[in-house]
Amino acid sequence: MIDERRESQACFYALGALPLAEAQEFEQTMRTDLELQLLVTELRAAADSLPASFLRVDPPPALKTKILGAVGGGGWTPVNIVLWPGALPMWLPWAVAACFALLCVLLITSGRSLREQTAQLKWQLEETTRRNDELQHQGNELQSTLAANFTNYQQRLSDLQKQITQTTADSQRERAARETQFVQKAGETQRQLTVAQQQLAQKNAELGRLQELAGANFGVPDNFTELRVGALKPTPDGPAKASAVTVWDAQRQKGILVVDSLVPLTPEQTYQLWLFDPRFATPVSGGVFNVDPRGSGRLQFLAGVRVDTVDRFAISVERRGGVAVPQGKVVLAGN
């Protein structure tokens, strides 16, 4: 069945009035459509009949002579003569028949191959359709998963926002608490500083008393220019709370030592005071002493040799009776 559009195209085509592009498309369609070919044939025959209806207008009588003269005149070139069937060699029909038979064989082979290709293509089409369905299914699943994940991520985002809000509030509370703690500690530190200052004042007062005492002992109450006062502090081997103060009179070559919070020793042991003069390679012994059960002790000492300058003082634990050079642990030291 030919539709109206094709019928219309066929009419214009038969009349030679179809535009070029449309005519080419029409010819392609016509090649595979026998019904359309038949229609065009009939329409073309109708078009060829149109001149039969025209008014008779005879050509000028001289025209025939003129045309015959034009084609028969000298100088026209011979044309190619087509060999018509009557002039063909006798073997030509047999050759044509052989070619036709060969063509048939080729067409049969080609047809078989085309059928196989068609079957294969059909199988490929089915396979492709199946894959397409699978992909569609996978696509739907992925879409569902995506939607679920999106919902989960929204929930997680909401949770995270809540956590951030909570953490921020906690941080602010913690910061406020730390600020309060800091203020409290600052107050405590201030109080400790006050106590330390009071203790320092007491120590200074004690130092004053010691100086007064030293002045009384050495008979030079108002002249401290030759006195060397040293404060000894515990070493890592000594008691943490232990302390000692020593006063050395370089002019008289004698001094006094007051210790506190030292550990009482066994009877086989004794504390020994050492004076460090840069002139000597080894310290100079200031004498041995022991402490009472509370760890307090007092020693008036004399240097065995002339000591002009004392850089440092030290107290060590030695065997009873003392030693010539320090051998035991140094528990207090200072300058």
Binding site: A23, L38, E42, S49, L50, A52, S53, V57, I67, V71
Partner: protein, 216 residues
Amino acid sequence: MNYTVWMDGPRLGGKPGGPQLGYIKTRPVNHPPNTPDEVELLRRIARQDRQAFAQLYDRYAGVLFATAFRVVNDHEEASDVLQEVFVQIWEKSAAFDPALGKPFSWALTLTRNRAIDRLRAVRRRYRFLEEITQEMEEPADHHTAGDELFGRERALLIRAAVEALPLEQRQAIEMAFLGGQTQYEIAEALKQPLGTIKARIRRGMLKLRDRLKGLS
């Protein structure tokens, strides 16, 4: 069914010098008889037989001249067209393959194309109304251009079938066939919608085909 093809069809789009189409044809219903002697004449012409050429001229000149005159509407120009066509037949007859078409169809196509080319060369258009007015003044039994080729009786019947078409259908058909105008050009010239022109030509051609079938 016996299919034959001729290659020298009308020019695409009616453009001078444009590619020409081939047609697949069956034996035409009201076509001039494809007598063996027409083919034989062309074969002889291919062998430079001037006598055969003269015979073919006598057979085709009337209808081809009338066709050319119908297009260019000028005796002198129609004569020039006819001369060019027959010279072309003389020169190209060797290339004519009877398996590809009918001698008359080939000659008619050559004539039509030459005439349309000439019409375009002088920038004129096919004037349907002038032609049809002259035609209507002629008596119904007046000789037609197809008398020699189709036979007087059949030529009259063909003329009657053509003239039975509504005027607007016949006008559109002739503008396409003889004017070499496309459907768009016809629609523009007649100031009608394109669909109307298509419908007129389609109905007219189908009607003509059916009536000519009846004649056979």
